[in-house]
Amino acid sequence: MNTRFDMMLPRRQTILGGVALAAGAAAPAHAQLTIDMTKPSFEPVPIAIVDFKGDKVGADIAGVVRNDLQNSGLFRSISPSAFIQQNMDPNAPPRFPDWRSVGAAGVVVGQVAQSGGNIKVDFRLWDVVVGQQATGLSFTSQPDKWRRLAHIIADAIYKRVTGEEGYFDTRVAYVAETGPLGNRVKRIAIMDQDGFNTRYITDGKTIALTPRFSPTLQEIVYMAYGENNAPPRVYLQNVESNRRELLGNFPGMSFAPRFSPDGTKVVMSISADGNTDIYEMDLRGRALRRLTSGPAIDTSPSYSSDGSQIVFNSDRGGTQQLYVMGAGGGGERRISFGEGRYATPVWSPRGDFIAFTKISGGSFGIGVMRSDGSGERMLANGFLVEGPTWAPNGRVLMFFRQQPNSGGRAGSVTLHQVDITGRFERQVPTQTDASDPAWSPLIPQ
């Protein structure tokens, strides 16, 4: 049994017959079942997701798919109460005129079947405009993993319509915050991307911050204070067994950890005598290598997607700015030259952009720039927004927003996501106040 996320789920893409849609077929002028999300403006694709047949979990699965797609900002889920065709045969083509008349560009139908203690779920996406099946897949899993199945189906639809990989079958690690601000409890939590299945992986006895996933999702690294206010240290923790180990016992504080893309290394900041530099630790031999030096603060390192470079935050030029260097240190060059201070750079998993926090004119912003510093674009602004993290497809970011405190009371701290055009922002539901989100890669299957 696969102990990771025991899911008997080879992504068995049993195509259920039907041909893939011919691209560029002459189509009517109204809504189409494709979307180019890089275009400066587009309308969300109207899509109808019919409750899956065969089992009562079918309606729940359809609900999760609707929610995922709607939350992406790229789809508009048509309310089931508007559907004309009822009691559909999941294996037969839908009555296309009925769906055209409710304005749907696509219809999703599916069914759930029990199969030897597991559930088997089929679905088809019909292109209403062209009157053909666009995609159809079949999956098997344990019954209690039905939410994951729904996310995987939503990913398949997203991919078919946008041409980009989906990001719904993912998790988010974050810092759950409770209690009064002056003595706040901060512990690491992990939840599904849509806010479900939250669990806490530190106990809250000491402050824990800045969680980051390993590429396999097996582990996270984070920073936590020791008992009796011992200085912060970096920990590596298995998310299944919750076994954790200290990554290097240095006299000063160590923090701001992040995995290399191949998972063999962790970069972090280590402080000594008030000075903070970036170090790399090889996880196989625990060998430590210093990557920056000098009296400035060098922190928040993040690898490029190919692992060859590191972007980081430094105040060597008097204010916080972003710099890029080789992954082994050296060749540092500044890339941020706009007004204000730049912080928390994170390289996109696609390699094309670097996301950052910008502090300027008394307010905070989340933005992206190309890796040479050009093409800066702000996506969100506010009293305090901080800590962007990329969805695995490099098209969506999550970050946190803090409202001002007033009358000695803490302002709320919440997670938000925004697409890289900055058009569509929404709050991500969490059980408590939440900060420092870290988006996982797609969950391995």
Binding site: S293, G317, G331
Partner: protein, 255 residues
Amino acid sequence: MAAFRLKQSIAMKKLPLRLLILVALALPTAAAAQRADPVYVEDRLNQLQQAISLLTGQIEQLQYRNQQLQQQMEKMQADYEFRLDQVEKGGGRPGGAPAARPTTPSTAAAAPPGAAPPAGAPPAAAAGAADQVYNDAFKKLQDGDYAGAEKGFRAFVQRNPQHALAGNAQYWLGETYYARRDYQNAMTAFAEGYKAYKSSPKGPDNLLKLGITLATLGRKPDACAIFARFAQDYPRATDLQKRRIEQERQKNGCG
């Protein structure tokens, strides 16, 4: 206290900064020799540290502005050289030199290249299509879409290695890399241009740029060797080109 070790990125300013540190450390030590006050020393160190960050920041800004200006100038220079080319060649010859610059798409399509097509040149329709590829790529270059221009010029040279504009395309291909500071690829492209299209109208420019690129890559002896070939390869180069070569030779200390 951490050593004042400066980064490589500001290596060029290392010396003046070091001097500054020495002077700044020496002065107070002399002045305050009688009061060996650790707080005073600590203060001086802090002030120095701040002064260095300030300078570092200013150097970074200046380097950035310098780079921006350089890019702008190179773009302007390419444009300027092109215009000069047109003036020099265009005067006596109606129909003109290879029409690298599309004034409007329609004239570009209407006017076939003035130079006689070499033997075995593609039929007129294909030639028109090739011109279009060249013109599109050139337009992209002017718009600063270097990646798009790179693609276009590369496709043009691959498909039409014998075309009258092939040498020009090879040269501009090099420029697309050079403009993006991808000197390694720029060098390869210019070297290829020198090898394959020595007698192209762009030959002298190509050689000049190959030398400059080599010098930028720190290969000064190679750069000088390339500049040295200029007189022999292009005795009839324009005065402007000869002056540029001489400037570069001096700049790189070629013997």
